[in-house]
Amino acid sequence: MRRCIELLGHRYEVSLNGPTGKWIIGIKDRHPEAASITIQGNSSFILALGEDNLPMEIARAGEEVFIQAFGRNFRLKILDPVEQAAQEAGSKGDTARAPMPGVVVETAVRPGDIVTRGTPLMTIESMKILTVIKAPRDGHVTKVHVEKGQAFEKNAILVTLGEGRERPL
């Protein structure tokens, strides 16, 4: 099985080949090696990779894996191939996304409005801090995805912008 794993904003291609208990792992250009993971005590794990052993704390929720190791914390994401493709296609600054989870306090634009880079699109509230979401580029508003009072998660699309500064006919 081959998948992309996201770690600290970078994507790595990782392959894992069985059978169970005799996994061989391939990471990027590294020579494939035997890997295993064993439970030690309540919830600590020992990862063995080639000659190395490392104690770790690990938890998983869906496609996310949380690891505490060598005094640090990491949040890794196993990317779904379909989602990955969609993300790569849609990252041209056509959307204003939520920098954090929160609630819409006020929307400042409506579909059809012409905006320039930096035009306030809406005011959001998160953890008692108001933040003004601004247009990432020049364009016109094609959709406002959330309305006043509505809650959203981190990275949710708040406003979509269309190409060009002209109002569509």
């Binding site: 993971i37 190791a69 640090r72 890794l76």
Partner: protein, 487 residues
């Protein structure tokens, strides 16, 4: 004297649990108010009696004065402990309770009102000859007066406090729009839109004095706390005593705090906050008329229970000690564990707590209301827990705190655990060279990941992932155990 027989806690989370523990020890029954979304949570389970109050958003339940008073009446609670935040510094709430014959475990409404309005509090301190930071109030020529004051300027809400609705303005070009934003926030959070502009001190230290005052005019201080390590104007590490403070300056701070409390006819526990510039000058910042988040460091060095003192004072008992009875023993440091991501501007994070392991042992105190499986949402404040270490001196306390943070495991939501550990171990922190610009001016970035560390992480993630190990998933023991944590 009016005995307190039953206390309603108008708060949630760790502070509600902390108040309940003291009430328990004193043999006073407690009642907790609780939003339905937290009814399964640790605080509600600890409470002998719970009154559900609904509200949308959930925080509104803890601000619902009418329902809280109704809950007092139906449960027979004759006093309310407000904790911090929510209604803790709402003078009309304190007034309402009074008129209903319910004790407010805190100061008199007049004191809350005086200190709650930052402009009135400033005027009061000026009248006592206590220095305040130069500032300009709104009104005719506000903009030009601010310009004359000089940049950078700090805009604050007159009715504000606690670091909320504060905005730095570095240059004239941003002044008007920032005033507009500050006014909007002020109106939203404090119900009153007036703001004022203060001269922004460069990298001051934040040192505050804990006081206790009874209704018979006795006021004592319980030493000071240094709370200079902040991000977004919010404290994340606090300690007592303040490191390297000149004895004369320390004495001036302590006696100024006592003077303010005495002259204001203050009653209950309170904190007088000061800013210290690099030249040995100090300025009154504000007085907080409630128990503070960081009160445990004072409790650890004085051996006193501040919540117990608040309750006794509210019941009309006189302080049973004088200033000379207060002895500061050793050093205590607190670290606030937040659900936030220091790598992306301390933005709050959400998630489900999948693994939870908190430190324990001699000299370690952890105040929290966490449990495995619980959801951390953006409905409430992102503070998860407070980890406090007490040692014979500052280095010992910092060592102990560093090791406690290292033993803390919270997985499933991004936290500042690692960041706190880096601060506690930082040589500049160790040297006591701290000020409010500490985080901005020191390198606290995570070290570069080494190749073999990265490979270990990727291998571990692949081995525990269903997407990699799909068909064989059910048979393998370790994976089955991890599967338990899936929500």
């Amino acid at each position: 004297m009016k005995e307190i027989r039953k206390v309603l806690i108008a708060n949630r989370g760790e502070i509600a649990c902390r108040i309940m523990r003291t009430l328990d020890r004193l043999g006073i029954p407690s009642v907790l108010i609780c939003h339905p979304c937290e009814i399964q949570g640790p605080a509600a389970r600890l409470a002998p009696e719970v009154v559900e109050i609904d509200g949308d958003p959930p925080v509104s339940a803890y601000l619902d004065v009418e329902e809280i008073i109704k809950a007092c009446k139906t449960t027979g609670a004759d006093a309310v402990h407000p904790g911090f935040g929510f209604l803790a510094e709402n003078s009309s709430f304190a007034e309402r309770l009074k008129s209903d014959g319910i004790s407010f475990i805190g100061p008199k409404p007049e004191s809350i009102e005086l200190m709650g309005n930052k402009l009135k509090a400033r005027e009061f301190c000026i009248s006592l000859g206590i220095p305040v930071v130069p500032a300009e109030q709104e009104g005719r020529g506000f903009i030009s007066r601010l310009k004359a004051l000089g940049f950078p300027i700090l805009l604050k809400a007159a009715a504000g406090g606690g670091g909320k609705a504060m905005h730095e303005v570095m240059e004239e070009a941003r002044l008007k729009e920032t005033i507009k934003l500050a006014k909007e926030e002020a109106l939203r959070y404090f119900g009153e839109g007036s703001v004022y502009g203060e001269k922004l001190l460069r990298d001051p230290r934040h040192v505050e004095v804990q006081i206790l005052a009874d209704r018979y005019g006795s006021v004592v201080h319980l030493g000071e706390r240094d709370c200079s390590i902040q991000r977004r104007f919010q404290k994340i590490i606090e300690e007592s005593p303040a490191p390297g403070l000149e004895p004369e300056l320390r004495q001036e701070l302590l006696s100024s705090a006592v003077k303010i409390a005495k002259e204001a006819g203050y009653e209950s526990a309170g904190t007088v906050e000061f800013l210290l510039d690099g030249q040995g000058r100090f300025y009154f910042l504000e007085m907080n008329t409630r128990i503070q988040v960081e009160h445990p460091v004072t409790e650890m060095v004085t051996g006193l229970d501040l919540v117990e003192q608040q309750i006794k004072i509210a019941a009309g008992e006189p302080l049973f000690f004088t200033q000379k009875d207060i002895i500061i023993k050793g050093h205590a440091v607190e670290a606030r564990l937040y659900a936030e991501d220091p790598e992306s501007d301390f933005q709050p994070s959400t998630g489900r707590i999948l693994i939870l392991r908190l430190p324990e042992g001699s000299g370690i105190r952890v105040d929290h209301a966490l449990e495995k499986g619980m959801n951390v949402t953006h409905a409430f404040d992102p503070m998860l827990a407070k980890i406090i270490a007490h040692g014979q001196d500052r280095q010992t306390a910092l060592d102990l705190l560093g090791s406690a943070l290292g033993k803390t495991v919270i997985l499933g939501v991004t936290t500042n655990r690692e960041f706190l550990e880096r601060i506690v171990g930082h040589p500049t922190m160790r040297a006591g060279d701290i000020h409010t610009g500490f985080i901005a001016s020191n390198n606290l970035k995570a070290p570069q990941l080494e190749d073999h560390q990265r490979e270990m992480l990727l291998a571990a993630a692949a081995l525990v992932s269903r997407q990699f190990t799909d068909q064989e998933f059910a048979v393998s023991e370790p994976y089955a155990a991890i599967g338990d944590w899936i929500n």
